[in-house]
Symmetry: C2
Subunit: 365 residues, 2 copies
């Protein structure tokens, strides 16, 4: 990659933010851009991307179409992503043309679980014990090295929502799982945690940083079901969580919003599971419970604007609407709360179709 | 007009709401529709309408283009407006094709100040004293009839933001103003009020009704500058304000959001100034201080959905960004609060360019 373009000045109202990816995150990013008077140009390889419904311009092309990527970037004033598995070559092309954030290094680190975990550990942050696995024999060896307790074999690349993961309880399990995946993997020791949490941080182009209060996250079938904010954490733990996000963002010279998934151990310590170099499902509650959501915060960062107010004015519970649950939209519409439906044309099992956020009001009775 | 189409069933997610008008109200309506998984089709006579930046489909055509109006309605599942001065013929064409709300009667009443004031008075609600003025002599006569104090001569049609209004202090003033306007007018006696307020109500297709808490409104140069919620009203006054909105909506078999402008008299009584058959500038604070904004509430009504939660979780101050104030966007972006910029390509004097809402948090310190 040649030298990346840097923002000389913030993108003014009327300017265009290019967003690679047209799912619900791209859709909510586009609406956040619109709130600030910025136009969104969505680039997706699907001709039916939900974000197309709310954007000013759109490009339908493959993520490896060099000409389309360059043309897209030329139409924009700054470029960002809604997903982390952006091909590195695509990121390189975009950043040659226009200021593109998060940067290539953040993507590279987040795309490979081994690189990611090593990076986090090298920052002095805690993670689950892990080992590189490049063969069935190595899987057996790693299982023994991690102490012989239950562990999770994960593909190093392209896993999400539990895909590319297997729980293993014996060395032979680990070897068999590796042979099934047949790709470079990482073996992670099981962590005995009290609950899962996350912290959403934002780092602006001037290096300033803000983080939202961490929610507690509840998964069902490996998919986030519910985020509850505030999580049952002490003020010291909240500070620690926000500091972790800042630490990661600073180390990557990161610009934009990142989501850091945490395990809260029985002893109260925080372990980093992984981070996503993008807006994060566990931050959707910020749309209602904060004046400036994670989506606007991300747009502010990549457009070179100052950070907005990340303070939380209300407690909140965000619940995902997954698969066939979306068929009950009339009941959901009548059930109170803030309903978000993503404009997806087809209900599929496990597909995130929308979410609903309820605020726990603090008003006097 | 032939019989209007009625909604047999709510418009499901994925359906399309047609919105006549592409300014900031149409833009915020389109985004509210998107939040519910509905697509927006914007119809505007401008090729540079701000709402085009956030909609799924768009039509650029004159508001008297019968073919374009019919084609537009055929592409939609339900139709609504962002402005009240919709030509009655356009409304008739649209409603022949698709469920169209607010209905023709609401538009007709709101478009003519004399009809509107008479309608309000006939409901038993209070207004400023008024008289019909169709000649310069009638203007002199009306001035005397109203008691000879200061009064306002207003054109019956097409006035907004103080346009088509003149303060008159003598009978000759009134006659001269009439000759200047040279159109049917209404003369309204000056009301000695403590402050101006408004109440935003919403009536669903099943007749259910909800209203937001009324803000106090402050105008500068005849343009709304600031809305502060709650207004300094007693609980009884708040109830009275909401009842006024319900009364008007019920009488018109109204479907959608309406904004009712009120004068709060020195004795605490509420006088109706006028109503707008649409979302209203003094309701923009609902985007942040309520879970369901006036924009979503309007979309819910015209799409045949149930009403959302209109409760206010926070106190709020909304301030318009008018004309050249928008040039200071960098300062506004850094100043806290929820910034909304409308995507207008050109700053013009008196033009509403955006608004900013600040919440007065009720969180414990």
């Amino acid at each position: 990659m040649t030298s990346a373009k840097h923002l000389a000045a913030p993108v003014p109202p009327g300017g265009t933010i290019g967003i690679l990816g047209g799912g619900q995150l791209g859709r909510m990013l586009a609406m956040a851009a619109a709130r600030l008077g910025l136009k969104a140009h969505i680039y997706s390889d699907s001709d039916d991307a939900p974000a197309f419904q709310v954007c000013d311009r759109l490009t339908i092309a493959r993520y490896d179409d060099r000409v389309a990527l360059a043309t897209f970037a030329d139409c924009c004033d700054a470029v960002t992503y809604e997903f982390e598995n952006v091909p590195s070559e695509a990121a390189a092309i975009l950043s040659e043309h226009k200021p593109t954030n998060p940067n290539a290094r953040a993507l590279a680190v987040a795309q490979d679980r081994l690189v990611e975990k090593s990076f986090i550990r090298d920052l002095g942050l805690s993670t689950a014990p892990f080992a590189n696995v490049e063969s069935a024999d190595a899987a057996r060896g790693a299982f023994a090295t991690l102490g012989g307790g239950p562990a999770v074999l994960k593909t190093r690349r392209m896993g999400y929502d539990g895909k590319g993961q297997a729980i293993v309880r014996h060395g032979d399990d680990a070897a068999a799982a590796f042979e099934r995946f047949n790709r470079p993997c990482i073996l992670e020791g099981f962590v005995e945690f009290s609950f899962e949490a996350s912290v959403i941080g934002a780092r602006a182009s001037d290096g300033s940083f803000a983080a939202y209060d961490p929610p507690k996250n509840i998964h069902e079938h490996h998919i986030l079901k519910r985020s509850i904010v505030p999580a049952p954490l002490s003020p010291a733990q909240v500070d620690a969580a926000k500091t972790i996000a800042k630490h990661i963002a600073d180390a990557l010279d990161y610009v934009g919003v990142l989501g850091v998934e945490l395990f809260v151990a029985k002893d109260g310590s925080l372990l980093v599971n992984e981070f996503a170099p993008r807006v994060h499902n566990s931050g959707h509650w910020t749309l209602e419970a904060c004046l400036v959501s994670q989506f606007e915060q991300h747009i502010r960062c990549v457009a070179g604007w100052p950070l907005g107010d990340a303070a939380r004015h209300s407690d909140a519970v965000m619940e995902n609407i997954i698969g066939a649950e979306a068929a009950d939209w009339q009941k959901l519409a009548a059930g109170g709360g803030a309903l978000h439906l993503y404009g997806k044309s087809e209900i599929r099992e496990g597909r995130k179709m929308g979410h609903i956020t309820k605020l726990i009001s603090r008003r006097a009775p």
